[in-house]
């Protein structure tokens, strides 16, 4: 599904984090958002997933306006995301995380109490195999290394029923081997027809992966296009080099 962001403004006190920000994410493509620190990329993710309310502007996902929906309602429409700082449920196991993500609605209390456990282990293992997280299902989130936590975060986002996958700095702080693996995972997902929106600072990663790049600076979109065009865009170079 397409995502359309129109003239979105978001301020924190006197700081304009998003200023008339408009962009579109096309179905089936990998779109990357780049920009210097503080350019509003993560704020945009938080606004799209409704963790933050917009001041003004409009958000449309597919045919549905999501501007005023609750965060969990937006998620149920099919937007799945990861976080820059990995957010896991520290006292739950790997299996718990994936099983929670697999179901797109709340559990019914009574059904949940009296019916036998759902057999979803196969599906959990498929997703973990896709991201290459080879740890016992009963491992607690607290017992995972940083890289493994990144992979679990990605696995959760993939497991959640979605039609748009938003990845916030998926390779930040990970070693080169894992970076390549995550790149391959994203490519595999794209081959399956997934729509992916990714924020990343690693330019090689972005240029190799994305079909469309959106450049943000000071809360606005200053350029967008194919990787080749962005690399030679003077406005983009100015934003990064401060000229």
């Amino acid at each position: 599904m397409n995502l359309d962001v129109s003239n979105v403004k978001k301020s924190f006190g006197g700081v304009k984090a998003l200023d008339k920000c408009s962009l579109s994410v096309e179905q089936g493509k990998i779109t990357a958002i780049i920009g210097p620190n503080g350019s509003g990329k993560t704020t945009l993710f938080n606004v799209i997933s409704r963790l933050l309310p917009v001041d003004t502007g409009k958000l449309v996902f597919g045919t549905e306006e999501i501007t005023l929906l609750d965060d969990y309602q937006v998620s149920r429409l099919g937007i799945s995301r990861t976080f820059q700082d990995v957010r896991l449920f520290e006292n739950l196991t790997i299996r718990d995380h994936i099983e929670i993500a697999l179901l797109n609605t709340d559990e019914s209390l009574l059904k949940s109490m009296f019916r036998p456990q759902r057999v979803v282990v196969k599906r959990v293992k498929e997703i973990l195999s896709l991201v290459g997280l080879n740890k016992p299902l009963s491992t607690f989130a607290t017992d995972l290394s940083y890289g493994q936590r990144k992979l679990l975060d990605l696995a959760i986002a993939i497991a959640k029923p979605h039609s748009l996958l938003m990845l916030d700095e998926p390779v930040a702080g990970v070693n080169p081997v894992l970076r390549e693996r995550i790149k391959e995972i994203i490519k595999t997902l794209h081959k399956r027809g997934e729509t992916i929106l990714v924020i990343e600072h690693d330019m090689n990663f972005v240029m190799d992966l994305a079909q469309h790049i959106i450049v943000m600076d000071a809360g606005s979109v200053i350029a967008q296009g194919k990787p080749r065009d962005i690399q030679n865009n003077k406005q983009v170079l100015d934003a990064y080099l401060g000229e």
Partner: protein, 289 residues
């Protein structure tokens, strides 16, 4: 059985229901609820007034739990935007409001004088008169309640409760309405507190507001912390420890004026020891945040 031991075991069974139900909200879901004793009191008064109005015990017992549940829902709904310390203060305030109502709504509760002569439980033509019969009755109810709460916490819904505690926003972006999860948990938690209150007053056959004060909250909270956050087994063992250890003071040559404060000192020492050396409690699975 020694009447003293029987009395202690009955109180332990009632406190287990009360403490485990608090652990559902506080330990498993992360709702820092300091108003739990109010639900215990609401259940106690509701059951008393209903049985005095001629309602059969079984119906009064269940309605007492249901009335506590309604208050539980109202409390969590009114405080739905509060978290952590702010929620703790608001729920503590709720406790004081309920206590004031018990004390001052004299036409209903007889205020500080309390309500004596509460009937012993009777059902199907059988009345529980002896303490041994009451111990058996309350033990059966206690085991059934623990079993129900065990089913809840080990179910997929129980997993959502724990995820709400660990990272509420993280769970919301996975499409879960955490407000509804919290409503359900508080309804269940206060229901069990309400029926514990009913069991308590039908045992001692007297109710007064002073049974539901800050001291009682500290006692139940101490049980949960000592036993361990998010641990049913820990809460059960914690109840035995917290109820029994101060009883050892009875065997020391202490005057009755010293015995009461000495109990509080023992609670405080146990709590301090646990917080210093086992911050998660005896069997805790999560930190108290």
């Amino acid at each position: 059985m020694n009447p003293y031991i029987t009395n202690l075991l009955i109180l332990i069974a009632i406190y287990i229901i009360l403490a485990v139900s608090l652990n559902l909200a506080l330990g498993y879901t992360g709702l820092l609820n300091l108003g739990h004793i109010a639900f215990f009191g609401i259940g106690a008064y509701a059951s008393t007034l209903l049985t005095q109005a001629g309602v059969p015990f079984i119906a009064s017992f269940i309605i007492a739990g249901a009335i506590s549940s309604i208050f539980g829902f109202l409390l969590v709904y009114a405080t739905k935007k509060l978290r952590g310390d702010y929620l703790a203060l608001a729920t503590l305030g709720f406790n004081f409001v309920i206590y004031s109502l018990m004390l001052n709504w004299k036409s209903l509760t007889r205020g500080a004088a309390g309500i004596p002569g509460i009937v012993k439980p009777s059902f199907f033509g059988f009345t529980i008169q002896s303490n041994i019969s009451y111990l058996i009755f309350v033990s059966v109810i206690c085991i059934f309640c623990i079993y129900l709460m065990y089913l809840i916490v080990r179910s997929p819904f129980g997993r959502l409760m724990q995820a709400t505690r660990d990272d509420e926003f993280g769970l919301r972006v996975l499409g879960k309405n955490t407000s509804v999860i919290k409503y359900k948990v508080m309804i269940i938690s206060s229901f069990f507190a309400g029926i514990a209150g009913s069991l308590f007053v039908h045992y001692i056959t007297y109710v007064q507001p002073n049974y539901f004060t800050l001291t009682e909250i500290i006692l139940v909270l101490t049980i949960v912390i000592v036993g361990g956050i998010a641990s049913l087994k820990g809460t059960i063992i914690g109840t035995f420890v917290i109820v029994l250890v101060p009883e050892l003071l009875r065997f020391l040559p202490l005057g009755s004026s010293v015995l009461g404060p000495a109990r509080q000192i023992v609670y405080a020492l146990i709590l301090l020891g646990i917080l210093l050396y086992r911050p998660r409690g005896l069997f805790g699975r999560a930190d108290l945040q």
